[in-house]
């Protein structure tokens, strides 16, 4: 892992450029107009890892669904490599907040879902094993999701995304259910993986430290309806130390922006 981090191989898969332009989005909740996203514009360069921070219920998952193409924004446009997003595509894979594994499939078959859906399973079968190994679930390939712990299920969901070799990985609190030790390990593994594979990543998290440890850029969103409050670039080389003075100061700054400064 460390060797890879010091001497990165050339990216296997160029990352996707994502342009989010003047997005507004609202829901109708009990017949009432519920604005969720307020004129959001974010330009993501290929290969960046951008963290989205914001209070619960502000609209982070909603924004990710729009980027994934699962829903269409009320107004504004989203471009993936300059092409408008009109629907989901396996080049943009989502790791949802909830692992949502299919209970009738084994862990192996869950991870193989994307390959099967794209008719690539016969030729890329070996990738499933590799992905399982990456998230430490090789021994559970034949298990059913009910037999996994919450954190293991989340890791299986991550493997299910990675196996498709996405050019944009959309992560909605993928480490939210992990214990703090596994979480720290998975954070560095994700960073290693991202640096090696070269995909673009959008990461939603509640955890300021996680954002600072992993991301090139941190975007802070306001309460619902979400606006971009700050766009901070984290200009530190990888692998990062968690005690890095620069990061500690940045953390205070971000907590201030989130209105939590006085608590620390």
């Amino acid at each position: 892992m460390v060797a890879v981090a010091i001497r990165p191989e050339p990216p296997a898969n160029p990352g996707m450029a994502v342009a989010i332009r003047n997005i507004n989005h609202h829901f109708a909740l009990h017949g009432e107009h519920l604005p969720v996203l307020d004129t959001i514009s974010i330009e993501v360069e290929p290969g960046e890892l951008v963290a989205l921070l914001g209070p619960s219920g502000c609209g982070k998952s909603t924004l990710l669904r729009l980027v994934a193409g699962l829903d269409q924004p009320s107004s504004g446009e989203i471009l993936a490599d300059g092409v408008p997003v009109t629907g989901p595509d396996p080049s943009r894979v989502v790791v949802f907040q909830d692992p949502t594994l299919f209970p009738w499939r084994t862990v192996f078959d869950n991870v193989a879902l994307g390959l099967e859906a794209q008719d690539r399973l016969h030729k890329d079968r070996h990738r499933v094993g590799t992905a399982l190994q990456l998230v430490g679930l090789s021994h559970f390939a034949k298990a059913h999701p009910q037999q996994l712990s919450g954190g293991m299920a989340q890791r299986a969901a991550l493997a299910r995304a990675l196996v498709n070799d996405p050019r944009l990985l959309i992560l909605d609190e993928p480490l939210g259910k992990l214990d703090s030790m596994t979480r720290i390990t998975m954070q560095s593994e994700l960073v290693t993986l991202w640096r090696r594979a070269g995909f673009t990543a959008l990461l939603v998290t509640h955890d300021v430290e996680e954002a600072l440890y992993m991301a090139n850029r941190v975007i802070v969103l306001s309460e619902r309806p979400a606006r971009v409050v700050a766009d901070v670039s984290v200009d530190r080389p990888y692998p990062r130390g968690r005690g890095d003075q620069y990061l500690v100061e940045l953390r205070h700054h971000l907590l201030d922006l989130l209105g939590l400064g006085s608590n620390w």
Binding site: G69, P88, P90, F96, T100, P103, W104, R105, L113, R160
Partner: protein, 315 residues
């Protein structure tokens, strides 16, 4: 329940006692198969004792015998009481109540006809059930999946669904060329309706997040239907298949009694007409075994297919 290692021996003794009662206590009206019955009871008794003694107590077969011995004992006791109150005491008089040896007689003398009837019922039921299950499943899937199918199918299902399938009997026997095809239609209808409703409800209760996951991984319509909606709906579908099976039994018997000149339902009717009550009980027992066997088969298939589900009801 476990009567210990002596359970098998006790059950064997009970069967031997039943044999003694059957043979030693004279019938009030002579029955021709009393002697044979007592021989069969003796053999069962000996086999039980022999099995109980032949295996070491921790042998799996010995454990099974011990587990079954309370039932074997209760059956012997029940048979003895039945024998006593019918053949020996006439407290329950013939012809309405038949002693065990009369059933034995019915099986031994009329087995070709019973077999033919059982076969006939099975073919009729199987044909109707399979057609009904297939039609019910596909229409339920269509209504659950497609807006257009739901628009047309939902009102029809709501109107026809609650109607007892037997209400169609007069129309079916009038419209169809033969009573057999009419019965197939009725059984298929009785099966299709619960299967359709449960499949539909299963498909519509699939969480939207399942589709989101599959779609972001590149799944097309066909994959979403066959690899997401159908497996997710299967637990509901099996409930429908079970309900449909119960309904199909009802319709089978009624149809055979009313129109089809064969099958166990017809046999029941025929035996009653000739006051051959022993034959009626004999046919009833065959029917119970047939129905129970089919339900067992369905549950076996379900447990296999849904082995990933925890806490399934055992049959």
């Amino acid at each position: 329940m476990d009567l210990g290692s002596g359970g098998g021996v006790a059950a064997g003794a009970a069967w031997a006692l039943a044999a003694v009662v059957t043979a030693g206590w004279p019938d009030i009206n002579e029955w021709s198969y009393t002697h044979l019955l007592s021989i069969i009871e003796t053999i069962i008794g000996f086999v039980l004792v022999a099995l109980a003694l032949a295996f070491r107590p921790d042998d799996p077969i010995a454990i099974r015998i011990r587990r079954g011995s309370p039932w074997a004992l209760a059956l012997a006791a029940g048979l003895t009481i039945w024998e006593a109150v019918t053949a020996k005491l006439l407290w329950l008089p013939p012809p309405f109540f038949a002693p065990p040896q009369a059933l034995l007689e019915a099986y031994l003398e009329d087995w070709p006809r019973l077999l033919e009837c059982a076969l006939h019922s099975s073919i009729l039921l199987g044909t109707g059930y399979l057609i009904g299950a297939a039609v019910g499943f596909s229409s339920g899937l269509a209504i659950g999946w497609s807006k257009a199918a739901a628009y047309w199918g939902h009102p029809v299902l709501r109107l026809i669904g609650p109607l007892p399938p037997t209400a169609w009997i007069p129309i079916a026997f009038f419209l169809f060329p033969s009573s057999w095809s009419a019965s197939v239609f009725l059984i298929a209808l009785a099966t299709a309706i619960p299967v359709a409703i449960l499949t539909w409800s299963g498909v519509s209760s699939v969480p939207a997040s399942y589709y989101d996951v599959a779609r972001t991984l590149g799944a097309k319509q066909g994959f979403l239907v066959l690899k997401v909606a159908v497996p997710a709906a299967l637990p509901h579908v099996f409930v429908g298949l079970f309900m449909g099976m119960s309904a199909s039994f009802v319709v089978l018997v009624v149809a055979e009694m009313l129109g089809v000149k064969a099958g166990l339902g017809w046999y029941l009717q025929w035996a009653q007409g000739w006051a051959a009550y022993a034959n009626m009980y004999a046919a009833l027992l065959v029917m119970a075994l047939l129905c129970s066997g089919l339900v067992t088969l369905l549950f076996t298939v379900r447990n296999q297919v849904l082995s990933w589900q925890k806490g399934l009801v055992r049959w």
